[in-house]
Symmetry: C2
Subunit: 529 residues, 2 copies
């Protein structure tokens, strides 16, 4: 397939007329063909009108049809073969095995949501049967199900060109919920986006769905994004990116005549706590694990371990020394875009000049453009507490060790943190009691707590939470990875005294979808359904 | 018990020092003793500090303890006896049986949430067990539960001095979720609020909970409310009231350094659709039911039927005539406050002067202050579509009949509506097909759809939805009545590779709470737990 530089408005390939974006191979700084001219406000309106037109039919597709559509998306993405892998490698500078793995994850994610759709638990069916004899007043028949919010705008992420972009987690969960999706492609990988977008559009067509179920727009700057978020037909937004970008979308969504929810995953430094016994017994191993997690993918993960917290001790000094040695020998790695590279350079540059942070190690210098040198910094708890700038995210392979005088300072440092996606504890049995006292604080700060692991690597499963208090996300009540992500795009509707013929399938008296309903306060057993 | 005019900051009765509020008996316009001096910013900070101090212990109370606390609240409210009834009647002008019924509903609501807490479904426990042999990477052990958001600010509502005020639905669901609550009492019924507040504080003490679990503040104007919503320790807000009040709170909450969710239930005109066959076969009965629902409690319900939509026909003309006769003979009723009465007068006054709306009937004039005369207006679909002012809520016993030329106009009128709490359909068998075509539109507009009933009367049960798209509420993803209201105050946390000893009870391997977990993708059966 030849890349066309065109957007997709439903099944129609359309060439934009605004300023074009063009991918840059970050390994060479060379622009890649073709150019992707940006969509106009009129294109946004067309896509929104189509999505709106598709909504009522798409949201009532049988669960099997919708699940099959998600599986067809996965099949079509796999059918793109090497062309997709090669383009994604060229556009992101990420190694080929990483992109292959990410394609696997993306397709598995779609298939997982297909299973979730079929199981139907997300419909959260609740039935309170009528009590006509009840005094002082009869109870009507009340039935609740979840319905989708409406068309969703999804913003592709720079750091996951497949798993969090055109057919990534936000798109998969919104489509699973029954919401049409309009994707604004990330400017860093338009070719990858076009390939995946066409695969999705083919799946729409093969499954006989309304073409408005999926559209793909391009645009430089924020115009297309803001036009999307402020269109009255868009009812929710999914975003993974910077704190400033996410905050701008939240603001625009709140200023609408009808405000809408924005699920923005924005900023996290993912504190790692090293407890004394663990540091003492296996400080070297911890340092190795830490540097591996820190430098993986040039540190370009939302869950990158950007902060290490521990009590000052000879064991901590040895950990820092080992980690510093490893960082110093870390090869430079190509970052995703020149913009991300420049922001990283600015972030570590500010810390290099910071009076209260000391560079413990700087990784090897690169030979080609946009190469990230790993950085390890060290500071003291009191300095960290005194300067909020020390907890700004540096997106890339940089981390800061905060040395604390005692347990009290450790607690203060944790209480001082902003909201996080993850918090990690490394501990041995002798550390259990101190860890236990800190867990309530960590629960208030983060969406996922890990013991004796590393935060990079986010499983797509039922129990995963990729979320957390602000600014980790704009809405701590949800997750953007895992099957619970579907719940973001739903709202409850209650049907009172409906004749069976007018009830949706999920709520009919005969329970044709065989759901385990909450029936008069009791969860139905499997053999009742 | 003698009313003291004091706030409650935890277990401490404190006299405010800002401008006092004082209840007014709306039936006489006479002020009632005592005065309730307003809290200062310092009082707000004290209450928030206490709530914050209480949070970590309260949120980990065993489910049985928390359920018992909710039941103790109900017991203490009932123990207030007639003093509560008399004071609420005096402060609201509502009839004694209504207040008695509302007390019953309030206590039943607390006991229902106690049952919900014990059942533990809201913890939404999800377990993905470790797959150490999985290729290419092992899966860690992942366990998810819901934890409470943090201290919640609750604003008492004017129209439900018990069921939506100090110990009403927002308070009950937030406490059930494990969130400490600070109530800002509604200025219209401070004595009722003090009585109930002291009952709650007694329950806190009897159950041996941290005193910061509950505080009650008074204040005129918006200072106390805004100070509460902008305090960094408050993590969510519950509000039932006007669109302007709710929007101001949303704005303040979004402008915080850490934005927080606001659950504001604000404005709804609750459209009622009358279908031709039903109108033809039982128009008189429908008119009677309509006027009863419209005038109940002087129309001061969020679910009051403020809009009737039907196709022009002789049967509709008869419906209007019968309803007009009944409205004309409706006795005036005391409204809750002089402010609400004045707003109602302004609302119906504007409609009386509207060129495109015709007054079909005005109810009997009152003899005492603040008496609501029922109003019935009629307009044409094209006029309704042309002027957004015609769908502004008139809080009180006023309704507008929109006459449509054909089914297409009916659809246009419904599509033109803002978000609603309810939508009602009156239909006979011959109307089923037309109703079916409108249901998708109505689902997009309202949180609850009713057939052949009236929207006033909101059951507290599992399947109820008292919510809906903006401006019915600020967050359509939730309900403020019914057991699902607890979900508003929770967020998920994932525990990765935790040793059993550090896991919370809900997630331990032995499942001591006997929850029906989502275990490796399957919902556990009852006999497995």
């Amino acid at each position: 397939m030849t890349l066309t530089g065109q957007m997709l408005i439903g099944q129609h390939a359309i060439t934009g007329t605004r300023e074009a974006i063009r991918a840059i191979d970050p390994a060479t700084d060379k622009p890649l063909d073709p150019a992707y001219p940006g969509g106009t406000d009129e294109h946004v309106k067309q896509a929104c009108a189509l999505a709106w037109a598709a909504f009522d039919s798409y949201r009532e597709t049988p669960l099997a049809t919708r699940a099959h559509f998600l599986e067809a998306m996965a099949d079509e993405i796999e059918a793109l073969g090497d062309e997709l892998i090669e383009r994604a490698v060229a556009e992101t500078g990420l190694p080929r095995p990483r992109i292959q793995g990410e394609r696997g994850r993306t397709c598995q994610q779609l298939r997982t949501f297909a299973r979730t759709v079929r199981a139907g638990e997300w419909l959260d069916v609740r039935v309170d049967t009528a009590l006509p004899e009840r005094q002082p007043q009869p109870r009507p028949d009340l039935r609740q199900r979840q319905i989708p919010l409406g068309p969703v705008a999804v913003f592709g992420a720079s750091n996951f060109p497949l798993a969090f972009s055109v057919a990534g987690g936000d798109t998969a969960s919104a489509l699973a919920a029954g919401c049409p999706v309009i994707v604004k492609a990330h400017g860093a990988h338009p070719g990858t986006s076009e390939l995946v977008g066409r695969a999705v559009a083919r799946a729409v067509k093969k499954c006989g769905l309304h073409e408005g179920v999926f559209s793909l727009l391009f645009g430089s700057g924020r115009e297309v994004g803001i036009a999307l978020v402020t269109d009255s037909r868009i009812k929710a937004v999914g975003f993974t990116g910077s704190r400033s970008g996410g905050s701008a979308l939240c603001k625009a969504a709140q200023a609408r005549p009808e405000p809408i929810p924005v699920y923005a995953e924005m900023s996290s430094i993912n504190p790692v706590l090293l407890f004394p016994a663990a540091l003492h017994s296996r400080g070297e191993t911890l340092a190795q694990g830490f540097v591996t997690s820190l430098t993986q993918g040039a540190g370009q993960f939302c869950t990158n371990p950007g902060l290490v917290i521990a009590r000052q001790s000879p064991a901590l000094a040895r950990f820092i020394k080992t980690a510093a040695d490893l960082v110093q020998r870390s090869p430079a790695q190509t970052m995703l875009t020149p913009g991300i590279f420049n922001a990283y350079e600015a972030g570590v540059g500010a810390l290099l000049e910071h009076a209260r942070a000391k560079a413990a190690a700087i990784g090897l210098r690169g030979e080609t453009p946009n190469q990230c040198q790993a950085h390890l910094f060290v500071t003291q708890a009191q300095d960290f507490l005194a300067d909020p700038a020390l907890q700004a995210e540096m997106f890339g392979a940089a981390s800061l060790v905060v040395q604390c005088a005692d347990d009290n300072e450790i607690r203060q440092v944790i209480e001082h943190l902003e909201g996080q996606l993850t918090a990690t504890l490394h501990l041995d049995d002798a550390d259990l009691d101190s860890a236990r006292t800190l867990l309530p604080v960590l629960e208030r700060k983060a969406g996922r707590l890990l013991i004796n692991g590393w935060p990079t690597g986010v499983e797509v499963s039922d129990a995963m939470v990729h979320g957390g208090p602000f600014p980790a996300t704009s809405d701590s009540r949800t997750t953007s990875v895992g099957t619970a992500a579907i719940l973001r795009f739903l709202r409850p509707v209650c049907y009172q005294d409906f004749p069976d013929t007018l009830l949706p399938a999920a709520l009919k008296h005969s329970n044709p979808l065989q759901l385990r309903r909450l029936l008069d306060g009791q969860r139905e057993a499997q053999d009742n359904v």
